[in-house]
Symmetry: C2
Subunit: 145 residues, 2 copies
DNA sequence: CTAAAAGTTCAAGTGAGCTTGAAGTCAAGA
DNA sequence: TCTTGACTTCAAGCTCACTTGAACTTTTAG
């Protein structure tokens, strides 16, 4: 296979639809060169970048947040393994926070809903400023008397 | 406070916007009686129902899925603590699955992106049919050579 | 050489989960 | 009584993350 990949090659290798790749490029998350015809030509490192996007989404980051992370990579040279691991190391903490929230939720399911307390004092759900926990809408707190 | 709650009372106690409460009622997730004026009057147990909705959303269920769960509650009587805990008990497993996925992701971050393998064989990310993991879009697999 | 497959742009559509606005009614306090 | 403020419905709008369609060009296989 050639050095430069077509959009369908990248799509097949990444599992990301070509339309999504164009969308990501429009958002500045990935970039491509162009063949004389105007067709996109992706360099191989884009695959790692896409992998990162996919991972990050599943962790729960928005594309905007992902863009901020990707902007930390060096622009002048191909990112090294070290660059990537620096980016991702800060995420372990975020994942851990999300896991902790899920465990609070799990406890809350039985302790709060199951038993009927639903009180702010006893409920472990209160964590208003937890940015990582922003999985979907819904209130940030729960109040009863 | 009265037995029956106005929409703004419910909103304040639940942390859920009045517009969202109307929306939930439209979707059949909660219900209300009406005052002679046409204004909504909520019975207190609606608070627990809303709590359940909020929990479920943060776990990652869609409103449709939540509706299915709520439909399992007895229609003829106020749900007991037992009814609620039966509903929520099945969710512990779902939460555990999600936690497991997050831990796979965490491992993947350093092992796959950090090191550069990105291979399907070695990558722990492959879990195509994991319904709980459907947090946002993105591909269900990752393929490289 | 030709037909089909693959690529392009740009605008509009989708679905989830709400929010906002318009236009009007009802309730509570001075 | 008057005037806020809370409430109603209904339709339209919004954000996110894409997808789809139209109209067109380029590449590739036979």
């Amino acid at each position: 296979m050639a050095q430069l990949l077509t959009i369908s090659e990248v799509s097949k290798r990444s599992g990301v639809a070509a339309s999504a790749l164009r969308f990501y490029e429009g958002r500045g998350l990935i970039s491509s060169e162009r063949a004389g015809s105007g067709h996109r030509r992706f360099r191989r490192p884009v695959l790692r970048r896409i992998a990162f996007i996919v991972f990050a989404q599943r962790i729960g980051l928005s594309l905007d947040e992902i863009g901020v992370e990707l902007a930390k990579l060096p622009a002048d040279r191909a990112p090294s393994a070290k660059d990537w691991s620096q980016l991702s190391s800060s995420w372990s903490a975020r994942i851990d926070e999300r896991i902790a929230e899920l465990e609070r939720l799990k406890a809350g399911l039985t302790e709060c809903i199951g038993c009927g307390c639903l009180s702010l004092g006893r409920c472990k759900l209160t964590n208003p400023d937890d940015r990582v926990s922003k999985f979907g809408p819904g209130p940030r707190f729960w109040v009863t008397d």
